[in-house]
């Protein structure tokens, strides 16, 4: 073990000297890699907002004197190019560039491939946005946690969105009969549908599935899918489409009067009304991947203040309202900041990544969308906000109708530590 510990020092950046009681705080800046989609269809609605937020927050932190006096040096990297490119990039960041922490990853595929590299190569990695619940779950419950010693996710997994949707639908559309699904053909889409289907069937046994479509990520022509869905005549269509795909789908669907016939339930649809604009259909069920909504005010004072500042500052810099990737980016960066500061107290100096990891487990910190807790399974849990799109004179795009908005508390939409989400749902009474 000692051998590995030393090699950690050798491999993982940040850790300078190990085993000394009092450690000096290095004067060199903290190298933080931030990986998001900077090119491709997912860039505009996702990667860029996320990356902007990293820049904004790093900027603010540096103005306030950095983390323990160390300034942040942000390395923005592109997540495009496929899983394999990401594996190679992450390795390079950890082993060659010796970054202190690797924040990032929007695609679940990237996360599943990259997070294991944390323990494998001895680097701290915080997944900031990707959703698959499998990332932190074991083969069967109860499973032991954490899945990765040095791998974290600073946002909640897709369980909250899809369980939330099921609960929401049960409440607002209790007597629907037929549902369908269109989800991207990889972990994200497959798992989103799995959780949603399991939850809906548990809550509303009468519902039956009439069609499931699996377009590939980055699909450009949804015509055939749209027709197929119209043909199947479902009451509600579940979709976890995100990024450019969500926008393209909406635009093409509008052309075929799709929304006049079918109601969509988007597990993470929050950014797209703003992205598409006033053409975006009303009466669609939209989930915010947490309580990440610019019109939402968290109950506790600190968070409420943060939200006010966050929305204002982001709007001032980038002329748009922050969308949930922005909130997730904030959470990742501040999870690291808080963990370092917490660990430094006990370590008495700059902490090793093991110490940071230890501090991050069970960490609770305020965020613009309320308090975030990272559990011992290294996964954050959040409440989830769901609403229905509605055009108002005040905004150039549909917002969530305040009268039909629901917030499901974290406890209601997150499986307990060590239990697989699916098993948990099936255990509902």
């Amino acid at each position: 073990m000692g051998a590995t510990a030393v090699s950690v020092g050798a491999l993982g950046g940040g850790t300078k000297a190990i085993g000394q009681a009092k450690r000096p705080i290095p004067t060199t800046p903290i190298k933080i890699a931030a990986v998001s989609f900077l090119t491709g269809a997912a860039a505009a609605p996702f990667g860029i907002p996320g990356d902007n937020t990293y820049k904004m927050c790093a900027d603010v932190i540096n103005k306030e004197g950095g983390i323990l006096g160390r300034k942040i040096e942000l390395l923005s990297k592109d997540e495009a190019g496929g899983v394999d490119a990401q594996v190679k990039l992450a390795r390079k960041l950890i082993l060659e560039d010796k970054v202190d922490v690797d924040l990032g990853y929007i695609s679940s595929a990237s996360c599943l491939a990259v997070l294991p590299l944390s323990d494998e190569s001895g680097g701290l990695i915080i997944a900031y946005d990707c959703g698959t619940h499998e990332l932190m779950e074991g083969k069967k419950s109860p499973f032991e946690v954490p899945n990765f010693k040095l791998g974290f996710r600073s946002s909640a997994h897709l369980g909250i969105d899809n369980i939330g949707l099921a609960l929401f639908i049960k409440k607002y559309y209790p007597n629907i009969k037929k549902i369908a699904g269109i989800n991207q053909d990889y972990a994200w889409g497959r798992d989103s549908w799995l959780i949603f289907e399991t939850a809906v069937k548990k809550l509303m046994p009468q519902v039956q599935v009439v069609k499931t479509l699996w377009p590939p990520l980055g699909n450009t022509d949804f015509t055939a899918h749209i027709s197929a869905l119209i043909g199947a005549e479902p009451d509600i269509v579940h979709s976890s489409l995100w990024g450019g795909d969500a926008v393209t789908f909406t635009k093409q669907a509008l052309g075929m009067d799709y929304f006049k016939k079918i109601k969509m339930a988007y597990s993470r649809g929050e950014p797209y009304p703003q992205e598409v604009g006033k053409d975006y259909p009303e009466e669609q069920i939209i989930c915010c991947a947490g309580t990440h909504y610019f019109l939402f005010t968290p109950p506790d004072k600190t968070s409420a203040g943060l939200q006010k500042w966050f929305v204002g500052e982001y709007q001032k810099r980038y002329g748009k309202y922050p969308t949930y990737p922005c909130y997730h980016a904030y959470q990742a960066l501040y999870a690291y900041k808080n963990a370092v500061e917490k660990a430094a107290k006990t370590a008495g100096g700059w902490p090793t990544i093991e110490e940071i990891a230890k501090a991050m487990t069970g960490l609770t910190f305020p965020s613009p969308s309320g308090n975030i807790t990272i559990r011992e399974d290294h996964n954050a849990i959040e409440d989830v906000l769901i609403g229905i799109s509605k055009l108002t004179p005040k905004y150039p795009f549909p917002i969530l109708d305040p009268k039909r908005m629901e917030i499901f508390p974290a406890a209601q939409v997150n499986a307990p530590v060590g239990i697989r989400t699916v098993d948990w749902i099936n255990s509902w009474k």
Binding site: T4, L11, V87, R91, A109, L112, P116, L117
Partner: protein
């Protein structure tokens, strides 16, 4: 042996390779191991392109077969997850697939062969991509550290594994592949393939069953590529359907040409060069495709025999000079 300076050189190079882990940083070492695995791929691919005169734009398929054999066994038969089982298994499956695909392909030559090979690899791609529950779809499969002869590497980090045991394992297999391929190309069998490459009509008329021997070449090449894929998967730690995409096959052709497919050693050099070229291009500019694309074009236009070819002809020139120099 000794009377042949070539072999002396080989032995010296091999000895040098033994010390590579001491010389390179862990990251560069990994790149080098990528290079070695691709070198094996290049050897196999070149038997078909350089020695039999068939250009396959679908050899990614056999690479994928090798890599997925490892990934699938890791997922479904973790009990059998040890190198001494995985490598033969990879060879077996690449054998089977290249028999099937090869049988269909060798009925054609030239562009038809290339396109058919491409289509078949894309068929495999489509299957790997679509059968999500079986193959992990576009997410692909993880490749954990295997055991070797009962030795488990649990708790050891991949870089250490790769710079230790695995490097030497890889090196030995690489050396064996080189020796075997050298034997094949200089053997009567190899001569027959070259005869087919040079003139298939006449080859038929000196009694060579052209189509059958093309198939043999195809299968052997497929197995080498499959072996390369399997070995690569441990270095990379993750396999995806892209391995069977024609663009990846294109990269295999690229590295072979970069080294030069006229010469046995060509693809080896090409593979290692390409790995560094691509990885550093990716690391240092967002326009890496431009870099390797431009390199390729320059290569095709100015250096058609590849780096090794250029070196060889240079040496030949020097030799002629010296011969001229000494009156006999």
């Amino acid at each position: 042996m000794v009377k042949n300076p070539r072999w002396v050189a080989y032995v010296l190079i091999f000895i040098l390779l033994l010390f590579i882990p001491r010389l390179l940083s862990i990251h560069d070492l990994m790149l080098f191991e990528y290079g070695l695995t691709f070198a094996i791929v290049g050897l196999g691919f070149n038997l078909l392109l350089g020695y039999t005169g068939l250009l396959s734009f679908g050899h990614g398929a056999y690479f994928a077969v090798g890599a997925y054999t490892v990934g699938m066994i890791a997922k479904y038969f973790p009990g059998a997850y040890s190198l001494e089982i995985l490598i033969p298994a990879a060879l077996l499956f690449s054998l089977i697939i290249s028999i099937i695909f090869g049988f269909l392909c060798v009925r054609h030559t030239k562009i038809f062969f290339s396109i058919l090979a491409l289509s078949l690899s894309m068929l495999l791609y489509a299957l790997l991509f679509k059968l999500y529950h079986l193959t992990g779809g576009s997410d692909g499969l993880r490749v954990p550290l295997p055991t070797l002869l009962g030795i488990s590497f649990k708790g050891i980090r991949r870089p250490e594994f790769l710079s230790g045991t695995y490097y030497y394992f890889l090196l030995v297999l690489f050396a064996i592949s080189c020796v075997i391929m050298r034997g094949i190309v200089s053997s009567p069998f190899g001569k027959a393939l070259q005869a087919i490459r040079d003139n298939e009509v006449r080859a038929e008329l000196i009694g060579i069953r052209v189509r059958r021997y093309r198939l043999y070449a195809f299968i052997i090449s497929g197995m080498f590529v499959g072996l390369g894929g399997a070995l690569w998967s441990f270095v990379n730690g993750h396999v995806t359907a892209d391995l069977s995409h024609w663009v990846f096959s294109g990269e295999i052709v690229y590295m072979t040409l970069l080294g030069g497919f006229g010469i046995l050693e060509g693809p080896i050099i090409g593979a290692i060069l390409f790995t560094y070229l691509k990885l550093y291009a990716m690391g240092n500019t967002q326009y890496w495709m431009f870099v390797i694309g431009a390199t390729l074009i320059v290569l095709v236009l100015l250096l058609p025999n590849g780096v090794a070819g250029a070196i060889a002809s240079l040496l030949a020139k020097l030799k002629r000079k010296t011969v001229k120099g000494t009156p006999c």
